[in-house]
Symmetry: C2
Amino acid sequence: MRQASEVTFVNIGQLWMRPGQVIDGPVFIKTVQGRVRSIGPMTRVGQVQDAVDVGGRAVIPGLVEAHTHLVFAGERANEFEMRAQGVSYEQIARQGGGIRSTVAATRKAGEQELFESGMNRLDRFMAMGVTTIEVKSGYGLDFEQEMRMLRVIRRLNEAHPLTVRPTLLAHVPYGADRKEMVMDIAQRWIPEAAKTGLAVQFDVFCDAIAFDFDEAARLLRAARDAGLGLRVHAEQLGHTGISKYAASIGAQSADHLDHVQEDDIVAMAGAGTVAVLLPGCSISMGTRNLPHIRPFKAHGVAVALSTDYNPGSSVTVNLPLMGSLAVAYMGFSYDEAMAAITTHAAKVLGMADTAGSIQPGRPADFVVLDCADFRQLFYEYATPHVASVYKNGVKVYEACGSGHGRPQ
Amino acid sequence: MRQASEVTFVNIGQLWMRPGQVIDGPVFIKTVQGRVRSIGPMTRVGQVQDAVDVGGRAVIPGLVEAHTHLVFAGERANEFEMRAQGVSYEQIARQGGGIRSTVAATRKAGEQELFESGMNRLDRFMAMGVTTIEVKSGYGLDFEQEMRMLRVIRRLNEAHPLTVRPTLLAHVPYGADRKEMVMDIAQRWIPEAAKTGLAVQFDVFCDAIAFDFDEAARLLRAARDAGLGLRVHAEQLGHTGISKYAASIGAQSADHLDHVQEDDIVAMAGAGTVAVLLPGCSISMGTRNLPHIRPFKAHGVAVALSTDYNPGSSVTVNLPLMGSLAVAYMGFSYDEAMAAITTHAAKVLGMADTAGSIQPGRPADFVVLDCADFRQLFYEYATPHVASVYKNGVKVYEACGSGHGRPQ
C-alpha cells in the first residue's frame, strides 16, 4: 500500500479525537508517512504541500471493530424466521442448527472460498468506516480446521488494507470426547497459534451450550501461559461468573455480558478489563433486553461496542448502528458511543497506542463523514454517513454519489 | 427521463413478484417502453434486443415508502440523547422541542433549501431501493406555509426520478386559536390542496399531543368530501379510536397503531384499510414495544411497513431495516416483510395497480440485489444489498464496489 509522504487535511468542520475531546473547526490534520504529525486551527496551517479539502465535514478516527466471526461459509436465514415464530436459539442449536451448521459448511468450503468471501466482508466493514478489525476462528473445531481458519485470517490481513487482528476462539465442544478436545486446545491449538503468531488473542465461549466454567478457566490459563491476550464470551445466555475469573487473570475484555453481575464488574474494573457489549445480537435473536452502561460507568469499566458479526446471532456489519442502539436503549451519550467503537475498542485489542484515536504520532486512520457533526452518525441511524476512509493516510474507500438518479 | 424502448433482464436468479409468489431462476423480464411485457424461464427467452445480465442475483419490486415527513429543515440530534437520559417525547414536545422546533426551522428555510435537502434525501431512499415514496407536509402549520411545503413536494416529484406522492398533513394544533385552525384546515387547506392537485391524500395526527378525536374526525370528513384519499396517525402514544372511525369513512390506511384495539382492526378489515406499522420509531424513541402482525393477520388486514422518516421520532431512510425489525420482533415472515414494503405499501398510496409488484403491464420499477436470495435483505440487516435500481426500465442508481480498498 502506497503511503503519501505528506498530506494535509484542511477545512475539517469538527474533529472527534478521543473520548471527551471534540474540536470545532475549521481545523487541519497534517500527516507524514501515514502518521499524524500535527493538528491545529486552520489559521495556523501554514505552507501545505499536498492538501485534501474536507469541506467543513466532520472527521472521526477509523472505527475499530473488536469482535467478529467474519470467516465462515453458509448462511442461516431460515433461523432468523424460525426465531420470529418462537423457536429459541438454544432449541435451534440443540437441533443441529446454529453454530454447528456453520461449522459443517465452513469445513466443507475451500480455503480460497473462505478468503474471497472474507475479503468481500472486509470491504463491507470498510464502507462502514472500520479500519481495524478483529476476526476469530471457531468454526473449525479441530486442530487442522482451526489452524486453517487462522491462516485464512492471516491472508486477509496481508491482502486487505484493513488491519485484521486474529483471535483463536474455542467456540463450542464438538465430537465424542469433550475432555479430550479441551486438552487438545490447551496443549496443541493454543501453543501452535501463539508460536506461529497465527493468533494474538485467545477467546472462549463459556455458557450452558458451550464450555463450562472449569473448562473455560483452564483454557484461559493455558492461553495466558502461552502469551496470548485473553478474551471471553461471558454471561450471554446465563450467568457463569467467567467474566470475573477472566478479569482476575488479566483478560483484555469480557464480551456479551447480558447477565453480568456487580461483582463481575468490580473485578473487571480492578483489572482494566474492557466490557464489550453487542447490541446487534438483540435484532438477530429477536430479544429486547440490552445491558445498560450505568453499572459499568459506576465502577469505571471502559465499554466498547461491536457488531459480533456472524451468520447466526448477529448478522450485520453496521458498527455505527451499534452506537445508535446504545444511545437509544443502553444509556450511552453520543461521546460514549463514539468512544465505544474507537478508543475503547482499540484497548480491547491491545492497540490503545496505535488505533481508535486521532493524535500526533498515531497512524492516520480516519473517516470523513458526509455531515458536519459526528452525532449524525448515530442520530440518523442505519444511514450511510461515511464519505471516505483513510488508512495510514491513504484513501482506501470513497462513497459514490447518486447524482439524483441521472440515467447511468 | 429516457425510456429504453425494449430491454430484457436475463439470468435473474430469483424473482419476488408479489406476496406468496417467488420464482426461482434463471428467469427473464422483458420490458418495453418502461413497462414489463413478459416474464418467463430463460429457456424461453427467445431473441433479445438489448440485454441486462443480472448474473444470478435476486430481483424484487422497487420498494414503496408509504409514510415520510421528508421535507424539513433543522435537526434534533440533542433530543435523541435526551431521551436516552430518560426525558420523554411528550416532555420534549411540551418544552417546545419536538415537532415545534422543526416547524420553526422549516418556516425559516428558503424554498430552494427545502428542495435541495429533499432531493438529497430522495437519493438516500433510492439507494435503499425505493422507487415510489409518499411525502407529507405538516411542518408549516398555517395555510401559506403548508402550501409552500406542498409546492416543494411537487417540485421534488418533477425533478427526481422517484415517484413522489404528496400528502397534506394536519400535524399538530398551533397558534392561539385551535378552533380557528381546524376550521381553516377544513375550509381552506384541504379544498386548495385538492383543487390544485398539490396533495392526493390527507393525513391527520390524532393523539393527546395533537388533534383530538372530534377535530380529526371533522378534518377527515372534509378531506373525504374534497375527494382526497384518507390517512391517519392513529393510536400512537395512546388509544383514541380514530383508526376505527377513519376506516368507517373509507381511509386507505391507519398508521402507527401501537395501541390499536381489536375492534379498530375489525373495522379496518371491513373497509380494506391498510395498517402501516412504523418500527423505526422504536429506535429513535428508545421504546421496546412493537405491534405484532398476529391480530392484523387474524382479521385479514393488509400490513405495510414504513420508516416514518422525520427528524425527531424516526431518523432513518433504511426501509429494508424495517423489514428486519418486523421479522425480529413483530412475527413477520420474510414474505410478509417484503409484501409490507412493496405490494401493501402501494395499496396504502392507492397505487396497487402501478407499483409494488412485478407483473406484465406494470411499470418496470425494480431492484437488483447483490445476492441470490431476497431473504438476505432482511436477514443480513442494516447492510447495503441494493446493487442497482430501475425506474420505468431505466437504471437510476448503481452501487459502487470498493474493490478491496485499492488506493483511489
